[in-house]
């Protein structure tokens, strides 16, 4: 596959480390989290395989185009609208979660609205770019950040504070029957591949998903799931890990890095993940806006010869984000995110069925 495809997948995988995923997993430590993670690894890789197989049949074509081609308008329009809504909610979830993190740890004196506005300013700019430029942006930011993230993860594994006995203790719970919440939370990290619905438009050459690539992706997914789940346990103990609001932040803070003047690595960690979360929001919202463009388009809404519809979307995004950021509490946020994440597996199952249907129509 194209290297940009990997970037998109990696962004989703990495940004979920500091997202709600670990907190949801830690709710189920004694209720079969490990077995659910294993199942989701299998399902996630299958999902990546199926979705790339589908899109590789149509190089250079996005999902909206294909859907409109093969289904009547009364199916395609609402379906596209729902897809766009889901992608928007995912981006919103990342944005709100990250604003809360920043408010708590980095800039406690600044109001939440200001944090959201500052982030939104740059995000809107990124969202309105062309798809190709979004991909370039992802590449350059990852190129800068990934080495440092890998360094920190390496430090996490080699630091003396990591006590493997806690990790081994958590392994002793593996035989509990799987749990749906843990399954959907860990499946979440594989869903980045679904961004192909839009970015396939940019992949104009014929792509192939080889076994080797699939093995690489499953190893990567397994490593990230392992790190997401077991490292905070190794640092914070097993029994009461569910009580921690931001397990990964506490983990990053429990590490002493003797690197020049750098000792407390938490803030570096926070900023690095901010960059990746930022990319994640841009990608998801970009997909959302572009899909929305293909269904809801106001031809008359013009200023001189420029159509202002995308700006209208952005305005709506701003209003919704600011309202949610101000009204929601941290607890509610976790609660609703749980619902959202629980809703994703059936949704993507439906999505795959539609893909299968389109593929069959295309053959016939």
């Amino acid at each position: 596959m194209n290297r940009y495809f990997y970037y998109i997948i990696i962004v989703t995988m990495i940004s979920s480390v500091v997202s709600i995923v670990p907190s949801l997993l830690f709710e189920t430590t004694e209720k079969g989290a490990i077995i659910s993670m294993l199942i989701s690894l299998l399902v996630g890789v299958t999902f990546i395989y199926l979705i790339t197989k589908f899109f590789n049949k149509f190089p250079g074509k996005g999902f909206p185009h294909l859907l409109k081609q093969h289904t009547p308008r009364w199916i395609s329009s609402p379906l596209l609208f729902i897809i766009s809504l889901i992608w928007f909610t995912l981006g919103l979830q990342t944005l709100i979660g990250y604003s809360f993190l920043l408010k708590r740890f980095l800039t406690p004196n600044i109001g939440i609205s200001w944090i959201v506005i500052t982030l939104l300013l740059f995000i809107s700019f990124g969202v309105l770019m062309e798809s190709k430029r979004v991909l370039y942006l992802v590449e350059i930011i990852l190129f800068i950040n990934l080495p440092i993230i890998i360094f920190i993860i390496g430090k996490v594994y080699t630091s003396k504070g990591l006590e493997w006995d806690y990790v081994r203790k958590s392994f002793m719970y593996f035989y509990h029957s799987p749990n749906y919440l843990a399954f959907s939370a860990s499946l979440f990290i594989f869903l980045g591949a679904a961004n192909l619905v839009l970015f396939n438009r940019e992949f104009k050459k014929r792509q192939r998903m080889t076994t080797l690539q699939l093995v690489f992706l499953s190893l990567l997914g397994a490593a990230i799931l392992f790190t997401t789940y077991f490292i905070p346990i190794g640092y914070n103990g097993f029994q009461n890990i569910g009580n921690i609001t931001f397990p990964w932040l506490l983990t990053a803070d429990s590490m002493k890095v003797g690197l020049a003047f750098l000792e407390r690595v938490m803030y570096v960690f926070l900023l690095l993940y901010l960059a990746v979360a930022f990319l994640n929001i841009i990608i998801t919202w970009h997909v959302s806006v572009e899909i929305l463009k293909s269904t809801v388009w106001f031809k008359q809404f013009k200023w001189r010869q420029y159509n202002l519809t995308p700006y209208l979307y952005i305005l709506v995004f701003w209003i919704i984000s600011l309202m949610t950021a101000n009204y929601i509490t941290e607890y509610q946020f976790g609660h609703y995110s749980g619902y959202l994440i629980n809703f994703l597996p059936p949704f993507f199952l439906l999505f795959l069925i539609v893909c299968w249907y389109i593929g069959r129509r295309e053959k016939a």
């Binding site: 800039t107 006995d165 203790k169 002793m172 103990g237 029994q239 009461n240 506490l250």
Partner: protein, 375 residues
């Protein structure tokens, strides 16, 4: 659309950024001269029940360059109902903003550790600005005295407490350094009990001595470790970077001391049916002879090895049975037990019954690499 973007984009962005700058000035940023850095926090028991906490803050006063021979500190003390209240009152006792990001040492007074420590330390975990990698210790007789102590060797630019714990200054193996996150996880996890070092200061407060430790049972400090036991704990738990353990041998007509600088420990818990549970521990030590009352001959090194091994074994056995009798588990044997046995509902009670009967089977192998510069 593209043309509009190119024309309007940069001027629009510049305008927006300029407006943002206008709004954000003075929002979250305070200059460094408006802040004062707290470098250590001490908590003692208050004088009466209504004010159970006495909070002491040690603040660093910036001094101009290397000219001042001694570092200058100032102290704030307040008794209050909660730690938060004490600190918010103390904020009004000073003209600057208290900055806790560099509070690297947290000292609990000896009289407060018989309370539920989870409540006492909750404040430090919950607040975002305290480092999880700050060191936690017990102050004797009071946390305040330890903070106020001015060791004579302290120089400006290097705080004595930081030097002691970080291992960058002194690297004595009597010193236990426990990070806040480590203390927390050991406290709330069953099967392992936290150990805190005891900082002692004398009447004149001219020195800080740290060679003892205390093991917490549940949430309260209970079992004190002597200097030797502290050293054994340090070595066995693999907590310190530089080991310099002294094994003194005094037997027959030989009297020598081995300086051990490398230790490897591994252990497992065996539960053979119908027998007492056994803890099998293998310890390997490397070292050189540092002091001897007699001439040592290099070809008898096997004999010396054996003598030193016996001695070390005796010490380790003593430490293990001492903590077992005290009902504490500083090494985390219970955790290891749960980490190697499939979870079931009764595993915790199972271990509680096993631990008092646990037999220690320690084998120590000391290998002396050299008898030193002279025979």
């Amino acid at each position: 659309m593209k043309a509009f973007f190119w024309k309007g984009k940069w001027s629009f962005l510049t305008l927006v950024l300029m407006i943002v700058v206008l709004f954000s000035t003075g929002c979250g940023f305070k200059d460094i001269d408006k802040r004062i850095f707290v470098i250590a926090v001490g908590i003692d028991k208050g004088t009466n029940d209504k004010k159970p906490y006495k909070v002491t803050l040690k603040l660093a006063i910036p001094s101009g360059g290397k000219t001042s021979p001694k570092p200058e500190y100032t102290y704030l003390t307040k008794e209050s109902e909660t730690v938060t209240e004490a600190i918010s009152i103390l904020k009004s006792h000073i003209d600057k903003d208290l900055e806790f990001g560099h509070a690297k040492v947290i000292v609990f007074g000896e009289n407060i550790i018989d309370q539920d420590m989870r409540k006492v330390m909750d404040f430090f975990i919950r607040r975002r600005d305290f480092q999880q990698i700050s060191w936690v210790a017990v102050g004797k007789p009071f946390a305040e005295d330890v903070l106020r102590a001015k060791p004579s060797a302290e120089m400006s630019g290097a705080n004595a407490l930081f030097n002691i714990f970080s291992g960058i200054g002194t690297d004595s193996s009597y010193i236990v350094s426990t990070y806040l996150f480590d203390f927390r996880r050991q406290m709330i996890e069953r099967g392992i009990d936290p150990v805190l070092p005891i900082l002692e200061t004398n009447e004149k407060e001219k020195s800080i001595i740290l060679d003892k430790a205390i093991v917490f049972n549940g949430n309260k400090g209970e079992v004190k470790l002597s200097p030797n036991q502290t050293e054994e704990y340090n070595v066995l738990s693999n907590k310190i970077e530089n080991i310099n353990l002294d094994v003194k041998v005094d037997k027959d007509d030989l009297a020598f001391t081995v300086f051990v600088d490398k230790v490897k420990v591994d252990y497992k818990i065996l539960t053979p049916p119908k027998q007492k549970p056994i803890l099998k521990m293998n310890v390997k030590m490397n070292g050189i002879v540092e002091e001897s009352k007699t001439l040592l001959s290099p070809n008898q090194i096997d004999k010396y090895n054996k003598l030193a091994s016996d001695e070390a074994k005796k010490r380790i056995n003593n430490f293990l049975t001492y903590s077992q009798k005290g009902g504490v588990d500083p090494m985390g044997f219970g955790l290891r037990y749960e980490a190697t046995h499939l979870h079931d509902r009764d595993i915790a009670t199972e271990w509680k019954q096993l631990y008092p009967d646990l037999k220690f089977d320690v084998s120590v192998k000391v290998s002396i690499k050299s008898v030193g510069s002279i025979e």
